[in-house]
C-alpha cells in the first residue's frame, strides 16, 4: 500500500502540474493531462468506424458505443463525440448553437474541445474545417473540404409514430414509412399545412427516412446535394448517421401541399439589413417595446456588418 502511494506521488511530481496545464490551455496549447481529444483512442476508433458505415449507407442510423462525457446527455454529447473522434491538430474548429457563436452551449463545448486538443478556434464559417452545430446550418456556402457535425436529440423520425424501437428498426429495414406519411397527411388535414417547424423528416437517397436534427425548415433544402459532408451524432440514443456530399435529400411533401420554408422576405435583420437569411425575433425593451428580427447566424451577420465578403448559394 505504502509502495503504491509512493509511486503515485512520484507520478504526480513528474506530471505537468494542473495549474501549468491550464495556463498552457490559455496560451492555445492543449491540456496534456488529457489524451488528444479527451476520448481514448479506442473510443475514437469506434466512432470513426461507425461513421464510415454511416457514410456508406446515407441516412441509415448506425448504433455506436456512446461514451460518458463531462457534459450531460442531451447537451450535445453525440456531436461532441463525432467531433472529438475526427478532429486533428491542424483542424480549425467552429462551434455554434442555434447559429450563435456565443451561446452557453457553444462556448462550453468549444472550451472543452479547445482545452483537450489545442486546435485553432474560429467564428468564421469559411475558415473552419470542422463546424459543430446545434439547430442550424451556417448561412454561408460550405465547401467539400469542410465537415458539419450536427447534434441530434432524437435520432429516429419514426419515434413520432412508432414508439417501439425494434418495430421502428424493422420499418426502416423494409422502407415501411406508411405511418409517417399518415402522420403528415393528418397534419395537413388538421391544420391545413405541415405543422412541423423543425426536425422536418426527409428521405435520403430515396431510401431512408431521416431526422435532420432540429434545424428549421429553412435549412432543409440545403441538405440536398450539398458539397459538404454532414454528420449527425445522437449521444443519448447512441446513433450516428450521415449525408455524404451530393446526396439526394427530399423532404416529405404532397403534390397539393408542397414543402415550404418559413422564410418571409418582408422581414429583415435590423443589424445588417439582410432579408434572405433565417431570422430570429427578439423583444426590444423600451418606451415602445417591439419585436425585432436579427440574423440567426451571428458570424454571417457580423461579416456583413463589417463589410466583409460572404459566399452564399446562388439559388437562395
Amino acid at each position: 500500500m505504502e509502495q503504491a502511494q509512493n509511486w503515485l506521488n512520484d507520478f504526480l511530481e513528474q506530471s505537468t502540474p494542473r495549474e501549468a496545464a491550464l495556463e498552457e490551455t490559455a496560451d492555445g496549447e492543449r491540456d496534456t493531462l488529457y489524451n488528444f481529444g479527451m476520448l481514448d483512442e479506442d473510443s475514437k476508433r469506434e466512432v470513426r468506424r461507425k461513421l464510415l458505415k454511416a457514410v456508406a449507407i446515407p441516412g441509415h442510423q448506425v448504433p455506436f458505443a456512446s461514451r460518458d462525457l463531462p457534459i450531460a446527455r442531451g447537451w450535445g454529447t453525440g456531436g461532441l463525440q463525432v467531433t472529438l473522434a475526427l478532429i486533428e491538430p491542424h483542424d480549425i474548429l467552429k462551434v455554434i448553437d442555434q447559429g450563435d457563436d456565443a451561446s452557453v452551449n457553444a462556448v462550453n463545448l468549444r472550451r472543452l474541445i479547445q482545452k483537450t486538443t489545442g486546435v485553432e478556434i474560429t467564428s468564421d464559417t469559411l475558415e473552419a474545417t470542422i463546424i459543430q452545430s446545434r439547430h442550424r446550418i451556417p448561412e454561408e456556402l460550405l465547401r467539400d473540404d469542410q465537415i458539419l457535425v450536427l447534434q441530434v436529440p432524437m435520432a429516429d423520425p419514426l419515434r413520432w409514430v412508432e414508439p417501439a424501437v425494434e418495430r421502428a428498426t424493422e420499418m426502416h429495414a423494409e422502407a415501411d414509412y406508411g405511418p409517417m406519411w399518415v402522420y403528415m397527411y393528418e397534419s395537413v388535414v388538421r391544420t391545413g399545412d405541415m405543422n412541423i417547424s423543425s426536425q422536418y423528416p426527409v428521405m435520403v437517397a430515396e431510401r431512408y427516412l431521416m431526422d435532420p436534427s432540429p434545424i428549421p425548415r429553412y435549412d432543409v433544402p440545403r441538405l440536398h446535394r450539398a458539397e459538404t459532408l454532414y454528420l449527425f451524432g445522437a449521444g443519448r440514443e447512441k446513433r450516428v448517421y450521415a449525408i455524404p456530399p451530393y446526396t439526394n435529400v427530399a423532404p416529405l411533401e404532397f403534390e397539393d401541399y408542397p414543402f415550404t420554408t418559413e422564410h418571409n422576405p418582408q422581414q429583415h435583420c435590423e443589424k445588417c439589413g439582410a432579408n434572405d437569411t433565417f431570422l430570429t425575433s427578439h423583444y426590444l425593451e423600451g418606451q415602445s417595446g417591439r419585436w425585432a428580427y436579427f440574423c440567426s447566424d451571428t458570424s454571417y451577420c457580423d461579416k456583413r456588418t463589417s463589410n466583409q465578403s460572404v459566399i452564399r448559394e446562388e439559388s437562395r
Binding site: 429495414a173 415501411d176 406508411g178 399518415v182 402522420y183 393528418e186 430515396e206 431510401r207 403534390e255
Partner: protein, 315 residues
C-alpha cells in the same frame, strides 16, 4: 430460397391464388410429426418433439371472383393459414402461387421503381402469363405485394387500425403506401370508400374510438378495399358483433363482392356466415384440411365425421 418466378405452364386455370403443400410448424420437427399429429390423433402437437403443426400440407385454389370459406374449430389452423396467405407469417414449407392479369410492368425488387398512381391503382406485376411464388419473395417485396395486392379485415379492429390516427388517416394509409401523394385525391377516394361501406363520409376526420364495433369493421373494409386488392382476406369479421350488425356487415360484404367482383378468402368458425357468403369451403381440423368442396354440398352431405359433427352442431 426458391425462385420467385414460376414458368407459365402451371397457370392454365382461372385461379388467382394457389397453395401447394402450405405448411407451418412451430418447433424443430421430427420424423414422427407427420404421422402422430392430425385429425385422426386429435392433436396438432407432436408427442415426441413437442412441435406444433399449425398447418399441414394445405392445398387450395382460389378462383378469380369467388369467395372461398375456411371453417373449423378454434386451434384448427384457420387464422395461421390466413396469416400465411397475408404474408405476415413465414411458412415452413410449400408454395403460394399468385397469378394476375398483365398491366404495365415495373420491378418489384427496387423500391425506386414503384410507379405512382394516376388515379387508377397500378399493380405489383409479374410478366404476362407467368406466376409468382409469394413465399420466395424477400421481406421487402412481400411488404410491397401485401400493400398493393392484398386487403385484410381482422377480427379485432385494433389489429387492423391504428387507433391514434383518424378514420380517414387509417383508410389513407394504404393509398399513401401505394405512392398516392395528393391529399385532395386521397380524401376523395376515402370519402368514396366510406360511402361504399355505408359510413358517413362527413366523419372522415373523426377518432376511431368514437365509432361502434360494426362501424370499425366497415372502416377496416374501407381500408382493405382502398387499393383495389386482388384478394381480400376476411378473418372472423363478424365475431363479437350483435346479430343485426352481423347481418348488415355480411350484406355489405356480399354487395361489395357482387359489385366489385373481388376474390375473397373468408375464415370463420360460424357455418352460418360461410353458408351465406362462400361458394366453396375448406373444413380444417388440427392443422389439416379434412374436407373441401362446394359449400352447399358440404352442408347438405358432409362426408368426414368432423364435418358431420360441425354441421349437426350448427343445426
Amino acid at each position: 430460397m426458391n425462385e420467385p418466378m414460376i414458368p407459365a405452364s402451371v397457370a392454365t386455370k382461372n385461379w388467382v391464388l394457389k397453395a401447394n403443400n402450405l405448411t407451418k410448424r412451430y418447433g424443430p420437427g421430427c420424423a414422427y410429426c407427420e404421422s402422430l399429429t392430425g385429425p385422426e390423433h386429435n392433436t396438432s402437437r407432436c408427442p415426441v418433439c413437442g412441435t406444433v403443426t399449425a398447418c399441414a400440407s394445405v392445398n387450395f385454389e382460389l378462383d378469380k371472383g369467388e369467395i372461398l370459406g375456411i371453417v373449423g374449430e378454434s386451434g384448427s389452423g384457420k387464422s395461421t393459414l390466413m396469416q400465411l396467405v397475408h404474408l405476415s407469417l413465414p411458412a415452413t414449407n410449400g408454395q403460394l402461387l399468385y397469378k394476375e392479369e398483365p398491366t404495365p410492368p415495373f420491378s418489384i425488387l427496387s423500391p425506386g421503381c414503384i410507379s405512382p398512381p394516376d388515379g387508377v391503382q397500378s399493380s405489383f406485376l409479374v410478366p404476362p402469363s407467368s406466376v409468382l411464388d409469394l413465399l420466395a419473395l424477400d421481406k421487402f417485396a412481400r411488404r410491397v405485394f401485401r400493400n398493393r395486392h392484398l386487403g385484410i379485415v381482422h377480427q379485432r379492429p385494433e389489429l387492423g387500425l391504428n387507433m391514434n390516427f383518424t378514420v380517414g388517416g387509417n383508410v389513407a394509409e394504404k393509398l399513401l403506401l401505394a405512392e398516392w401523394r395528393n391529399v385532395g385525391q386521397i380524401r376523395q377516394r376515402t370519402a368514396h370508400l366510406m360511402d361504399l361501406t355505408e359510413l358517413p363520409p362527413e366523419r372522415i376526420d373523426d377518432d376511431p374510438h368514437t365509432f361502434s364495433g360494426g362501424m370499425l369493421q366497415r372502416v377496416q373494409i374501407s381500408k382493405a378495399l382502398s387499393n383495389n386488392p386482388a384478394v381480400l382476406l376476411l378473418d372472423e369479421v363478424t365475431s363479437g358483433l350483435d346479430l343485426s350488425v352481423q347481418a348488415r356487415v355480411l350484406d355489405l360484404i356480399r354487395r361489395i363482392q357482387w359489385e366489385l367482383k373481388i376474390t375473397m378468402l373468408l375464415v370463420s368458425h360460424d357455418l352460418g356466415v360461410i353458408k351465406q357468403l362462400a361458394s366453396r369451403t375448406l373444413v380444417m381440423k388440427n392443422g389439416q384440411v379434412v374436407e373441401s368442396g362446394l359449400t352447399d354440398q358440404i352442408l347438405e352431405d358432409p362426408q368426414h365425421p368432423y364435418t358431420q359433427l360441425l354441421v349437426s352442431s350448427a343445426l
